[in-house]
């Protein structure tokens, strides 16, 4: 029995010793990966570990969107070093609020490889955002823009939908999104993002979600703030809040499913716009 106890003790010591050796090999690093720079806050440091665990494969160790999977992903992962973000509640050209980035983490990004990170805790997401902001000096030099004020949503009416359709034509949304919102407008094939990579406009007939949310308020924000880094501009200077809601209601008629907007459009017998005035070929 004494021999057995000695073996147990020896095995325990050996396991512990080799485990300690492995741990020592990891010593001085954060969450198992080399610390790229000093001076992190505690929150950034925690975010660094989480970034390495979850995000590095696509966004890369330097946050430039050049992770090991980036070559195989379309659209490409976000480049955090330029701090340009599509989904914001702030005006075009400005930095987003932390809550905007957190919402993107919770929601994921439609039509991309970016999943929803809902299973993470609020704290983890806040830590991740803190770390992501260390990749670009913009966060040290600039403040996020003031958030766009979204007025209360008015009642949807036939007049508003008709007005929205006129705006859709007048603002030339159809040039990219197509006359029926299918993302097949005459300019669609020529679009590129700020890195000269081809980009496709949103196809409204594909579903109810957008890249930056799924509510009417989200849609309102999308065209009033623009999607920075893409050809989608901000219409904040061109549309009044009332007009923006009209456009929201019309865009909802282009989406599938049973909605109040579609029911009204059906009652109206709303036809797709015909901006060129030509007769459709049979």
């Amino acid at each position: 029995m004494r021999t057995t106890h000695r073996r147990i003790l020896l095995s325990t010591i050996l396991t512990a010793a080799l485990g300690t050796t492995a741990m020592a090999q990891n010593a001085g690093i954060s969450s198992g990966y080399p610390v790229p720079k000093n001076g992190f806050t505690a929150q950034e440091q925690k975010g660094h570990g989480l970034y390495r665990r979850y995000c590095i494969g696509c966004h890369g160790p330097q946050g430039d969107g050049n992770g090991e999977n980036a070559p195989y992903i379309d659209p490409k992962p976000r480049d955090f070093t330029i701090a340009t973000f599509k989904c914001r509640s702030t005006l075009t050209g400005s930095l987003p609020l932390d809550t905007d980035l957190i919402h993107t983490l919770v929601r994921g990004v439609l039509a991309s490889n970016m999943p929803s990170w809902r299973p993470l805790s609020d704290e983890d997401r806040a830590d991740l955002v803190a770390y992501i902001k260390t990749f670009s000096p913009r966060w040290k030099k600039e403040q996020p823009g003031p958030p766009l004020q979204v007025p209360a949503e008015p009642e949807v009416t036939a007049d508003r939908i008709t007005a929205g359709q006129q705006l859709f034509q007048k603002m030339e949304c159809w040039k990219c999104h197509g006359t029926e919102g299918r993302g097949d407008g005459p300019s669609a094939a020529t679009l590129t993002d700020s890195k000269d990579r081809p980009i496709v406009p949103y196809d409204f007939t594909s579903g109810h979600r957008f890249k930056c949310g799924e509510t009417d308020q989200d849609l309102y924000k999308i065209f009033m703030t623009g999607l920075d880094g893409t050809p989608m501009p901000s219409f904040a200077d061109n549309l009044t809040p009332d007009q923006a809601w009209d456009l929201v209601f019309y865009l909802r008629t282009l989406q599938p499913g049973k909605t109040k907007e579609r029911a009204i459009a059906k009652q109206l017998g709303l036809k797709p716009i015909n901006p060129t005035g030509t007769t459709p070929q049979p």
Partner: protein, 441 residues
């Protein structure tokens, strides 16, 4: 009494062997599909983190528009393989061996050498949006025979609700601890005692840790904090070809998670399994006829657990009570007359499993399991006959972390003491030392 002790020794041996045929689910095919490193879904593979658990509960889907296979490159094949070449040392105490004079004696059997675990071929993914599958052929490294550890199809988010998911086939019960994602592999430490323990003389073959064949209805909240799983499985312990009786077993598991600031996701839950096993078969020329089990008698397993996270440290504690019918516990047919003092055996188990996740590349494991008999199958049995204590420590070191493949240096030591189970009524001490390279690609 000798026969029952031999049976106990046999069960103990089977318990050890389970460690060598362990099969775990850590699937680089998923990582390749979604471009995520192993660490996104695993604390340290194969142990899931909350993100990985949600992914699994969503039917192997991230719930974005890249889930359906139609969005994958046509050359993508959802297949991964896993095996662990290793060196191990085994010691089994007070084992009966024959002597030259024709008698028997007890001695400690020790052996060591290089070895392989079973080879798992892990194929899993989606057939279409919200329809997923898992198929795991497992090859025995000794004789090359192939068994199907898992084979199931799952319909997820039925009617658009995460509360309705339906699985059909062979699968692991949604238990408090996943034996298929166990972090320890040795012969002693590679199986949970609470899932495999059987009292001395008991013939009930149900093993919670073995995958079962049947259906599962499972649901969860969007954030996966609230979960339920209800299963109905054939009473065959996962065996193919309807070898047993014609009855069904039922299982229910409920759990609730709580996010505690600065600590992480805590979870508490309760589960229960009730089943039937035949006590005799119709025979032909004295041989049992498969599928004709009769004289069904019941058994149950019921437990509560908590999974607590304190930053990088986590501890899971599971308390389970189990009982088998008196006929199962005494290996008797219902046509037999029960001996005086016969009871249905009842036992309690406690399992404490802790991990320290130093980083996604290094995880330390410690586990203590104990089994205490509450009621023996016979009054004449010592009250502590079969009591078990198992202690396991180890660690896994992952030299790299990316989305194509995984490699872990694994080292582990486990020791077990079972009370009075040798043929001469002595305690038995068994120990395993294991080190090797666990890789999946």
């Amino acid at each position: 009494m000798t026969w029952s002790r031999s049976l106990a020794a046999g069960l103990l041996l089977a318990f050890f062997l389970l460690g060598s045929v362990r099969s775990a689910v850590a699937i680089p095919a998923f990582a390749r599909k979604y471009g995520l490193p192993c660490s996104a879904c695993h604390e340290g593979w194969p142990k899931l983190n909350s993100f990985g658990q949600t992914f699994k509960d969503n039917g192997y889907q991230l719930m974005n528009d890249r889930d359906a296979p139609i969005y994958q490159n046509a050359s993508y094949w959802p297949v991964a393989m896993r095996i662990t070449p290793h060196w191990h040392y085994e010691s089994v105490g007070n084992t009966t061996v024959d002597t030259a004079g024709g008698g028997t004696t007890e001695q400690t059997i020790k052996t060591s050498g290089f070895d392989l675990t079973g080879i798992d071929i892990l194929t899993a993914g989606t057939l279409a949006k919200n329809i997923s599958f898992l198929l795991v052929p497992s090859i025995d490294p000794g004789d090359g025979t192939v068994g199907f550890e898992s084979a199931n199809v799952r319909f997820s988010n039925i009617l658009g609700s995460p509360w309705l998911n339906f699985k059909f086939g062979k699968f692991e019960l949604d238990g408090p601890l996943s034996e298929k994602r166990m972090m320890t592999f040795s012969n002693v430490g590679g199986a949970y005692a609470l899932y495999h323990f059987a009292p001395v003389g008991d013939v009930n073959d149900f093993s919670f840790g073995e995958n079962q064949i049947g259906v599962e209805l499972m649901g969860h909240s969007l954030n996966d904090h609230t979960r339920y799983a209800a299963s109905v499985v054939s009473s065959t312990n996962g065996g193919l070809g309807l070898p047993g009786g014609r009855s069904y077993d039922g299982y229910l598991h409920l759990s609730q998670g709580f996010l505690v600031p600065h600590l992480g996701l805590q979870r508490i839950g309760a589960y229960g399994f009730v089943g039937l096993r035949p006590t005799f078969f119709l025979t032909s020329n004295g041989e049992d006829i498969a599928g004709t089990g009769r004289g069904n008698r019941s058994f149950y397993r019921a437990g509560v657990y908590g999974s607590l996270y304190l930053g990088r440290f986590d501890l899971a504690a599971v308390f389970q009570r189990a009982g088998d019918n008196v006929y199962l516990g005494n290996a008797l047919s219902t046509n037999d007359i029960l001996p005086v003092g016969a009871h249905g055996p009842i036992w309690n188990t406690a399992t404490f499993e802790a991990h320290y996740t130093y980083s996604p590349q290094l995880i330390v494991i410690g586990r203590y399991e104990l089994v205490r008999m509450s009621q023996q199958a016979l009054d004449t049995n010592p009250s502590d006959l079969g009591n078990l204590d198992v202690f396991t420590i180890g660690y896994r070191y992952y030299p790299f972390m990316h989305s194509r493949a995984g490699l872990a240096w694994h080292q582990e030591f486990a020791t077990l003491k079972s009370r009075l189970t040798s043929d001469t009524g002595q305690d038995q001490r068994s120990s395993s030392y294991f080190m090797g390279f666990d890789f999946a690609f």
